[in-house]
């Protein structure tokens, strides 16, 4: 089939503002959008810039806005888009560096702010810190996150607010807040409770729809809100 691939392109050295460029391509319905981008880069215009690494939906590099929805280019098939015009834009709310590449630094700063690692000062036991399957299941959803930023950059509060910590950081805080072996909740709650913290969430559910790993993001955010509320009130 013949498809039109429209890419929002931006070269900081030449362009004042991003602009659309169209490419006519021959594509199989089972081609991924990532394949189309590769075709353009390899055969038509080598200056097209985008991130990709594994190509199998696990590294989280190729999150982009495809036909108006945040998705991974490597998990989106042409046949799933139900149209022969495919638009590709960088994810929103982060500074565009070039074409589809955005500056992820603010995203990872928010991630680091919630201390996404095990905090436990108790002396380590002789063997591992044990946990029952039930205790493990409580935070299972959060472990699926691949840090692609599809959720955070689909959040309307993140777009406009400027300091909001974003759904992804909260999901990764959830991963440890509900871990029975972890004792760092006080520190995480503080990181989440400020002016740009979790209380800015208005449950728009964009994050849940955007997540390529099917994490119920909004639900996890609400669980963290309840945990903080029960802890303080």
């Amino acid at each position: 089939m013949r498809v039109t691939l429209k890419v929002l392109r931006y070269n900081p050295e030449a362009d004042r503002a991003p602009h659309w460029e169209s490419y006519q391509l021959e594509a199989e319905p089972t081609d991924r959008v990532l394949d189309l981008l590769h075709n353009v880069k390899w055969d038509t215009d080598g200056t097209l810039t985008f991130r990709r690494s594994c190509g199998h939906g696990i590294c989280g590099s190729c999150a982009m806005m495809i036909n108006g929805v945040n998705r991974l280019a490597c998990k989106t098939l042409v046949q799933n888009l139900d149209t022969d015009t495919i638009t590709v834009e960088p994810i929103r709310g982060l500074p565009v560096e070039k074409d589809l590449v955005v500056d992820m630094a603010p995203f990872f700063q928010a991630f680091k702010a919630v201390k996404p690692y095990l905090i436990n000062d108790d002396p380590p036991p002789e063997r591992e810190r044990l946990q029952s399957p039930e205790e493990r299941a409580v935070f299972d959803e959060g472990t699926k996150c691949i840090l692609c930023a599809a959720c955070t950059t689909s959040c309307p509060v993140f777009w406009v607010n400027g300091t909001y910590i974003g759904p992804s950081a909260i999901v990764n805080a959830h991963r440890f807040i509900f871990d029975s072996r972890d004792k760092g909740n006080g520190e995480r709650f503080k990181a989440l409770s400020g002016g740009g913290g979790i209380w800015r969430c208005r449950t728009a559910y964009n994050c849940t729809e955007a997540c390529p790993r099917d994490i119920p993001v909004t639900e996890l955010i609400e669980e963290v809100k309840r945990a903080i509320m029960v802890n303080y009130v």
Binding site: F107, Q109, K112, V157, W159, S193, G196
Partner: protein
């Protein structure tokens, strides 16, 4: 618009109090209360009595009873604070310049303070029981 650098120390400074949590809970509680208070208000002023027959005497006689005063005071305060906090969220979202954001916010707080004060004064200082015969 990108989010600003946000390390743990910055976050902790911002979170020196639980004020945002308290406002978040207030929004939920006041929202639920206002649904019933406003429905009651509509019932009393549109169904119990036709809104075309409301005149000064009716309002004055109503406000001469303490229960109505408390009812309207609670509704006034909850509605004003609920709306103000909602506007504060919106200002925080859309006014990015620090100086302008503070100016807009304090202008809002001033207007709200005036409205709550005058509303409360009206309820409690006006001698409703002496008018309308």
């Amino acid at each position: 618009m990108a989010i600003k650098t946000r390390n743990f120390n910055v976050a902790r400074q911002q979170a020196s109090t639980n004020i945002e949590l308290i406002w978040w809970v207030f929004m939920r509680v006041s929202g639920v209360l206002l649904v019933f208070l406003v429905l009651g208000h509509i019932y009393m002023n549109n169904i119990l009595i036709s809104n075309t027959s409301i005149d000064f005497d009716y309002v004055a006689s109503r406000f001469s009873q303490p229960l109505y005063k408390v009812y309207d005071l609670v509704m006034l305060v909850l509605a004003m604070l609920h709306g103000t906090n909602g506007l504060r969220y919106i200002i925080d979202d859309y006014v990015h310049h620090d100086g302008w954001r503070n100016i807009v916010k304090y202008a809002l707080y001033f207007v709200v303070a005036v409205l709550i004060t005058t509303g409360t004064m009206l309820l409690f200082s006006f001698p409703f029981n002496k008018v309308g015969g």
